[in-house]
């Protein structure tokens, strides 16, 4: 399993001690090499001292004086316990007193190469180090071999090795015992975040992850999750509101039908002759509602048929206004139409429904006696802007975000003929025509701006009629 905790534990327990051991060994061997080099250098110095004494003694040819001087040097421990000077022919010229005590014919073992020290055993069996150096003139060469105990050197190395080994063992023990605890502690913010995320479900979307208590590395994660939760909660709330509104839209006419039927059954003698007309009106209302819901669903799923053609916008607006004229007149609403865009390339049915929805909202929701302005203009890029403006004193800026939301209506009233999906249909149809709609409030007026791109926006293949969007 790809677990961060397991990976970290494995690293801490496997790589950690391994790396530490490697580091300790490197350090040990560097120190060892350095100590051996120092030891070899001292052997070389001893060999040099012996060679100088020999070279000083050779002109005089006085062996006795030489041995006396060497004995003096030995007495002051200025020479190693074992040394031997031999001629190029292998004859011993001089040897240390300890070596002289060895049986006749005994020679110190020499390293494989001159001037290269090597580890050997001393004649008494103790570990030592030997070095052979060549001195003298070409005519009279001699070899000086020096051998010294390395017991002290090995002892020093052991003293260094002990704390290193102890530190390694302690670290492994620490990694085994304290490591998992430390990891748990260090990973606790991750565990907490994990736990908080797991506790979130559809019913607890209001929960937020407290970013302040998390390490800085995890704060962006918490912030992002909180942002997503907020958007999700908004979306759920919107869906819940839509469902509640839809339920209300359907339940009210159903309740009306049920009540009429039950009343007629309960008191058949007092059945009102207008009841059947009421039934019909309710059924028509339900039919309209279903048709509009289907229109909206089709437009949202992209299965609307779009037939693009050149349309005279002025006549389309006036045609859309016609069925509303009586209602507008009854509320003393005056239409004000200023169309400057001329002909537009669009679908007359869809654009007509867009205009009808906007104008119907304007007629039913504007205060009596106000003006409903419809204007259009052509943009510099050839696109078309259609604007419907009407007084909307009850709308607040916060309401604008709900325009286009299915079944939303200002207030909770359901006494009018509206279903609350008019602006949703407007949005969907605008999108089907490649345009968009924006609602703004200005000086208490609601302004719906329909923006359609220039004709060239749609490709030739799209411009052919009778096709699916």
């Amino acid at each position: 399993m790809n677990s961060l905790r397991r990976q970290l534990t494995f690293f801490l327990l496997a790589y950690g001690p391994g790396l530490l051991l490697a580091g300790f060994l490197c350090m040990y061997f560097l120190v060892r090499k350095d100590l051996y080099e120092q030891f070899d250098e001292s052997l070389r110095t001893h060999a040099q001292v012996i060679a100088e004494e020999i070279e000083e003694a050779i002109p005089d040819q006085d062996q006795a004086i030489l041995e006396e001087e060497m004995a003096e040097l030995e007495a002051y421990s200025l020479l190693p316990p074992y040394y031997e000077v031999t001629s190029s022919g292998g004859q011993r010229i001089l040897a240390s007193r300890l070596l002289e005590m060895e049986p006749a014919g005994f020679h110190l073992s020499r390293p494989l190469q001159l001037d290269e020290a090597s580890s050997v055993d001393c004649p008494d069996g103790q570990p030592g180090r030997v070095l052979t150096v060549s001195y003298g003139s070409t005519a009279n060469p001699f070899l000086v071999t020096v051998l010294d105990y390395r017991t002290a050197l090995d002892s020093d190395l052991k003293r260094i090795l002990f704390p290193i080994g102890l530190a390694g063992v302690l670290f492994v023990a620490f990694a085994l015992v304290v490591g998992p605890w430390l990891l748990n502690r260090m990973l606790s913010p991750l565990n907490l975040l994990n736990k908080q995320i797991l506790e979130i479900d559809a019913q607890s979307l209001e929960v937020r992850i407290p970013g302040g208590s998390l390490p800085v590395e995890l704060r962006p994660v918490a912030e992002r999750i909180n942002g997503l939760l907020e958007r999700l909660a908004d979306s759920f709330e919107k869906e819940r509101r839509i469902n509640a509104n839809l339920a209300h839209e359907i339940r009210t006419p159903l309740a009306e039908l049920k009540l009429l039927a039950e009343t007629a059954l309960k008191w058949p003698e007092s059945r009102d002759p207008e009841t059947d007309a009421e039934y019909l009106a309710i059924i028509r209302h339900l039919e309209t509602m279903i048709n509009r819901m289907l229109e909206l669903a089709r437009s949202e799923e992209g299965s609307l048929e779009v037939h693009m053609e050149l349309i005279d916008l002025d006549s389309l607006v006036r045609q859309s206004w016609k069925p509303l004229a009586k209602r507008a007149a009854s509320r003393s609403l005056a239409p004000d139409i200023e169309l400057g865009a001329g002909e537009v390339y669009s679908d007359p049915v869809l654009l007509g429904k867009i205009l009808l929805n906007l104008l119907e909202n304007a007629v039913d929701y504007s205060p009596a006696g106000s003006k409903i302005n419809t204007s259009s203009e052509r943009n510099s890029d050839g696109g078309v802007l259609i604007r419907v403006r009407n007084a909307a004193p009850s709308l607040s800026p916060e309401d604008l975000q709900h325009l286009g939301e299915r079944y939303w209506r200002k207030g909770s009233a359901r006494e009018d003929r509206h279903l609350g999906i008019g602006t949703s249909i407007v949005r969907a149809y605008c999108a089907a025509l490649g345009g968009n709609v924006a609602f703004t409030l200005s000086e208490g007026d609601l302004i719906a701006e329909l923006q359609f791109p220039p004709r060239s926006w749609r490709s030739e293949s799209q411009e052919e009629s009778s096709k699916q969007v």
């Binding site: 159903l254 009306e256 008191w267 007092s270 009233a413 006494e415």
Partner: protein
Amino acid sequence: MRVLVVEDSVRLREGVAGALRKAGYAVDTAADGEEGHWAAQSNAYDAIILDIMLPGMDGLEILGHLRQKGNTTPILLLTARDTVPDRVKGLRAGADDYLVKPFALDELLARIEVLCRRVYGLVENCVSVGGLEIDFSRRRASVEGREITLPAREWALLEYFARRQGQVVTRTEIEEHIYDSRVDPMSNVVDAAVYALRRKLAAAGAPPLIHTRRGLGYVLEASDS
């Protein structure tokens, strides 16, 4: 019993009001929140049927205002909102009952009956006064087994007297609880209805049970004390 129906859907409002009238209730209606609030504050209703989603002022607001001002009229919320949180919210706001649309008419009538009965502190469905048996749930009155047929309004009057058995009931109270706002308060409808009821009870063989307290009103009791 007088009931107020506050509902913005015209058909539903008139349908519920019509059904309640046929069931013997005096019914006033209001089409929006503000009108409903005003009516609920201005008249003594035995029950109020209140929609939640109303224009002007929503049902829960009306409920809150009424309860804040100490109005204890039983209120039934009639709404399309059917979720548990909606019901809990409505009941916690002070509603006495909650009915979801679409509803069964009989259930609505039964619930209104229970709410009205609760106003007068009655638990039993039957009351007996000097040989007159009144069964509220079956809407029947009888004397020694002989059933008395009463039109809705007279039944409502008898029911009101029975619910306040032994108490003096003023004409104003009868007007407020038996007649809706469509009746002219200056008319003598109350006296006429009491007279008609007395006649029908006497015809059924019941002793005089509805007594006049001069200057005060009427009282339903077994003997004129």
